[in-house]
């Protein structure tokens, strides 16, 4: 019973942390971009973003009115009734912080006003033998999520097919996903697995390179290419189109090469907590290493 209340409180805390302040790695990348950007309109966009983030943090207000859909990743030790506790936390956070009530029925567009509904919030469970339960929230805004793309490439298209698909997708998205974005790419698995890999890849800090040397090179190559397009912040031109490219892979079928892209806006909001057996909680905006 007490653990359930704790999970509810942690859920509210995580959502508040995530929507009101950016992880340090994202802030650092934005500040660097502002310093290096030479396009005047682009610099205004980046300065406005940084001023806005600073104000949101200082006043504990949501930095963006689109506080997203509440997407949760839960791993480690299982806690009974966790889902119910997270749901209560989401409803409380919606009225307390407040979050924008974004969750609607897809066809009628009916909005219950509390960000709850069938399949909402999204909770991805990965139980393991740790002595803690880790909960990460990634509020996902629609501007960037609407630009998601999936392609079931032919294996013969290989790395070149992947590069072309990433480039074409980001160019087609233009200013719509609120660039500078972070480009999450999922390679392999099945169609659904590729999409989830792309989303999960966005949880990796911008200052933590890919552990796989081939993927690391591919990330860097794509980042350079995307920043050479000139789309720029908000699609108004400039050299800062992406803050980073994140790639995650998984084994796939010998006849398949699924590639999924999940874009994240500059407001790459995330927050994590570890709940230990004895009830103590550790928080990290950037995510535990």
């Amino acid at each position: 019973m007490r653990t359930t209340k704790l999970v509810e409180d942690v859920t509210v805390d995580l959502l508040r942390m995530a929507v009101t302040s950016l992880p340090e790695d994202v802030l650092t990348a934005l500040r660097l971009a502002e310093k290096e950007e030479t396009n005047e309109i682009a610099r205004i966009q980046l300065r406005t973003i940084l001023a806005n983030v600073e104000m949101a943090d200082r006043r504990t207000l949501p930095m963006c009115q689109d506080t997203g859909l509440p997407v949760f990743f839960v791993s480690g030790r299982c806690i009974p009734h966790l889902e119910e506790a997270v749901r209560r936390g989401v409803a409380r956070a919606t009225s307390e912080i407040p979050l924008r009530p974004n969750a609607v029925q897809p066809l009628t567009r009916a909005n219950p006003g509390d960000n709850l509904g069938k399949g909402m919030p999204h909770i991805h469970f990965h139980p393991s033998d740790e002595d803690f339960t880790e909960i990460t929230v990634m509020p996902k805004g629609a501007g960037s999520e609407n630009m998601s793309a999936l392609s079931m490439l032919n294996p013969s298209q290989g790395a070149r097919g992947i590069k072309a698909f990433v480039l074409d997708t980001v160019v087609a998205a233009g200013g719509k996903p609120c660039p500078p974005t972070i480009v999450g790419v999922g390679i392999g698995g099945t169609a659904d697995e590729a999409m989830l890999l792309a989303k999960r890849s966005l949880l990796r800090r911008l200052d933590v390179p890919n552990q796989d040397p081939d993927l690391r090179r591919l990330e860097e190559e794509l980042k350079d290419a995307l920043n050479s397009t000139g789309i720029g912040p908000m699609g108004l031109g400039g050299q800062t189109t992406v803050l980073g490219v994140r790639i995650e892979d998984a084994f796939t079928h010998t006849a398949s090469l699924p590639v999924a892209i999940c874009l994240q806006c500059w407001a790459s909001r995330r927050a994590s907590a570890r709940i230990f057996k004895d009830g103590h909680v550790e928080y990290s905006k950037e995510g535990f290493r």
């Binding site: 973003i49 949501p62 689109d66 407040p98 699609g235």
Partner: protein
């Protein structure tokens, strides 16, 4: 705003806004056009006014709505409805992000309207420029989709991204991007 005021604005200008603006995104566009086609009046007269592509976060305190966060939403979702919206309701400015398609640009030229790009996600700054929530209509569509009447002062900074003469920063960027992408593809070892 008068047509003359609007026609004087040039793409690339930086502006701030004082006065009244109305929020309106997907559902407002759908319902407003339905009303107009049925010959019904909208709750607000938008003639000469400003429409803000925005779904704000509002909080009711002591019976009065306060704005918490209000930045622009992606304008392209309104692409198919905006030309008719501009023609029927006579709006002089659209505030949004990401730009709009050519039919909307054409309507802006024909009827005298500009597109003001506000930095996406800059919602606290947006709220800072809103001095009062004067009213709300169509709240049955939900908080983000309702039509909010907002008094603003020093709202911005915004960039005139499409002016009433058809000049568009986005078009300029698109042309450069097409050239750059060809170079980038070659560098990545891709064809075309």
């Amino acid at each position: 705003m008068s047509e003359k005021d609007v026609r004087q604005l040039k793409s690339g200008d930086t502006v701030t806004l004082d006065g009244l603006i109305f929020s309106g995104r997907d559902e407002v566009h759908i319902r407003a056009l339905e009303y107009a086609r049925e010959g019904r009046k909208l709750p607000y007269d938008l003639r000469g006014g400003v429409i803000f592509h925005c779904g704000p976060i509002m909080k009711k305190v002591n019976g009065h709505w306060n704005v918490v966060a209000a930045g622009p939403t992606t304008s392209s979702r309104m692409n198919t409805m905006e030309p008719e919206f501009i023609e029927r309701f006579g709006v002089r400015a659209i505030i949004g992000k990401g730009g709009m398609s050519q039919p909307t640009v054409d309507a802006m030229v024909k009827f005298g309207c500009v597109y003001l790009a506000f930095t996406g996600g800059a919602a606290v700054l947006g709220a800072e420029g809103i001095v009062e929530v004067k009213g709300v209509e169509w709240l049955d569509m939900g908080m983000p989709e309702a039509m909010w009447e907002l008094a603003v002062k020093g709202f911005g900074p915004m960039t005139v991204a499409i002016d009433a003469h058809g000049n568009s920063l986005y078009k300029g960027v698109d042309a450069k991007v097409a050239k750059n992408v060809a170079v980038a593809k070659k560098k990545l070892g891709l064809f075309g």
